[in-house]
């Protein structure tokens, strides 16, 4: 892919990722978020977080299966969008549901397991967002950076559990997320097991002998 095409593709992603937010703001301004706008905002931003988390996790398997290596170029923006919507999700909860009360938020979080799990998901994304720049990748070194960024698995799994836990009875949607996530993680496990085994070197062969 040419550089200018890539830049354009990234712009496409940037703009389209912001569309749900733009429509939320527009609908809110026109009082068209339905009977329970607070809930609608919290639910939608949470859903967007999960969608972007899953998309982020889908990049590597898709790249390996299709051989389209340029897909990796979108992973950072997808991940940052997940973090962005996750922050909005928390802000909506903090402001609309908890009335900006820090103690009210903390006391509620301590009592509700699904809020704790959601908090873990969001916190897990913080170091990922902070270390998402090229400079940070260099500073950490590729290997350490990749290890750190396995936190994305924590965020995605905790995010889906958080969703599942607060649904009243109809768990179909959280289960769809769980199934997609399971496939994406399963793919990683399989490729991990099937990775080429290191060929014994003379030294290890000698030791074994």
């Amino acid at each position: 892919m040419k550089d200018s095409d890539l830049r354009f593709a990234k712009l496409l992603l940037l703009v389209n990722g912001a569309v749900p937010l733009a429509l939320l703001v527009w609908d809110q301004a026109h009082k068209r978020l339905g009977a329970n706008p607070q809930n609608f905002l919290i639910l939608t931003t949470g859903m967007m977080t999960l969608i972007f988390l899953v998309l982020t996790m889908a990049v590597t398997p898709l790249r390996k299966i299709t051989g389209l290596n340029w897909l990796i170029q979108f992973r950072r923006m997808l991940g940052l969008y997940a973090f962005f919507y996750g922050c909005l999700h928390f802000l909506c909860f903090f402001s609309l549901d908890r009335g900006f009360s820090v103690s009210g938020t903390l006391s509620e979080m301590v009592k509700r397991k699904y809020l704790v799990v959601g908090g873990i998901a969001l916190l897990a994304m913080v170091p990922l967002a902070v270390t998402s720049t090229n400079a940070m990748i260099k500073r950490l070194g590729g290997k350490r950076w990749r290890v750190l960024h396995r936190l994305a698995y924590v965020a995605a799994i905790a995010g889906v559990i958080h969703y599942y836990m607060q649904v009243k009875a109809d768990v179909r949607k959280p289960l769809v997320f769980a199934a997609v996530l399971a496939i994406l993680l399963g793919y990683r496990l399989i490729t991990y097991w099937q990775r080429p085994k290191p060929v014994p070197t003379a030294a290890t062969a000698a030791k074994q002998g």
Binding site: V15, V19, A22, L23, N36, G99, K111, A169
Partner: protein
């Protein structure tokens, strides 16, 4: 074949035009993709709206606020809009999406509706809806409605006390509870084609709860016949209990000697009890019940004991451990 060096300068696209054209196409793609994303978003995630076209109810009795204040028949709070009451519903027989019930339930046919009143009564019978509604003229009752999920409304219902129907059928002395049942018809109630709950929906009340004047057999709201999404053609409203006790689209009322099974308490016994009285001091295991989101308001308001009907119904539960009997 034309030689490359024979292409005249005038035939070569000017780079400025070429790049402009490319920018033009890209802008088009950008705009089109944003519109497409917006369209998908709207299809998947839109709040419901729509008009209510049910028939006007004739002869609804509206008595003065003064005489009704003490009885709890008329709460003096801002009524929730008809639009919100009819587009934010928990009615899993149609959809588990509160904003999707209205469209899923539109066109629900209630012609020929009958309600069987049976069990431990002296005069059991199957009532045609019209006959049932003639038992007593509809009265306007403005009740708070508190959902177990933590939101609430104020709804001007129309109906009469359930006790008037029970008086007609004459409960036997050994009748201790009343069991209710919703229509079971997966064709008309598409939500019943799935197994999210154990169909049909069943609910129950203790005899003294059922006989309490606040317990309403409702057939309308805002002076109109009940829209399908709110439980047409006839439903129960028990204002001091969480909304799920208010069973909708009732086809059977049975008086029994022992506590009947109820859908939600069977689904999750640790989360939903048989009594399910509104109680800000007893939290749902997964969320607090201390406050509520009043639909149409911003911020949360404190939840009242027995949803503000303690004066009227508190005595029914005297000496009962409300933490154990949640």
């Amino acid at each position: 074949m034309k030689e490359a060096d024979k292409i005249s300068a005038s035939e070569i696209t000017d780079p400025a035009v070429y790049f402009n054209r490319r920018n033009f196409i890209r802008t088009g793609i950008l705009a089109a993709s944003a519109v497409a994303t917006g369209f998908v978003y709207r299809r998947l995630n839109h709040p419901a709206t729509g008009e209510i076209k049910t028939a006007k109810l004739e002869g609804v009795i509206t008595t003065s606020a003064v005489t009704n204040a003490a009885s709890g028949f008329r709460v003096d709070e801002q009524e929730t809009s008809l639009e919100n009451i009819t587009h934010y519903n928990n009615f899993y027989e149609f959809s588990t999406d509160k904003e999707g019930v209205a469209s899923a339930a539109s066109g629900f046919e209630t012609k020929g509706w009958r309600v069987s009143v049976e069990g431990l009564v002296n005069k059991p019978g199957v009532f045609d809806l019209g006959d049932l509604l003639k038992i007593s003229p509809p009265e306007e009752r403005i009740y708070r409605m508190r959902c177990v999920e933590g939101w609430s409304m104020v709804i001007p219902w129309a109906g009469f006390s359930l006790s008037k129907l029970l008086d007609v059928v004459e409960p036997a002395s050994d009748a201790k509870f009343v069991a209710f049942e919703t229509l079971l018809d997966p064709r008309r109630m598409p939500g019943q084609q799935g197994d999210v709950l154990n169909w049909p929906y069943v609910e129950g009340l203790r005899m003294d709860e059922a006989m309490h004047p606040l317990t309403l057999l409702a057939s309308g709201l805002y002076g109109r016949a009940l829209p399908p999404q709110d439980g047409a053609p006839i439903r129960l409203v028990i204002p001091w209990k969480y909304g799920f006790k208010g069973i909708k689209s009732i086809v059977k009322i049975k008086l029994v000697a022992t506590q009947p099974r109820t859908t939600w308490s069977e689904y999750a016994p640790n989360e939903y009890g048989f009594y399910a009285s509104v109680n800000p001091h007893v939290d749902h295991p997964r969320w607090s019940q201390a406050t509520e989101q009043r639909i149409g308001e911003s911020g949360r308001r404190p939840t009242l004991m027995f949803n503000g009907y303690e004066e009227q119904v508190g005595h029914l539960y005297a000496g009962m451990d409300l933490r154990a009997n949640f």
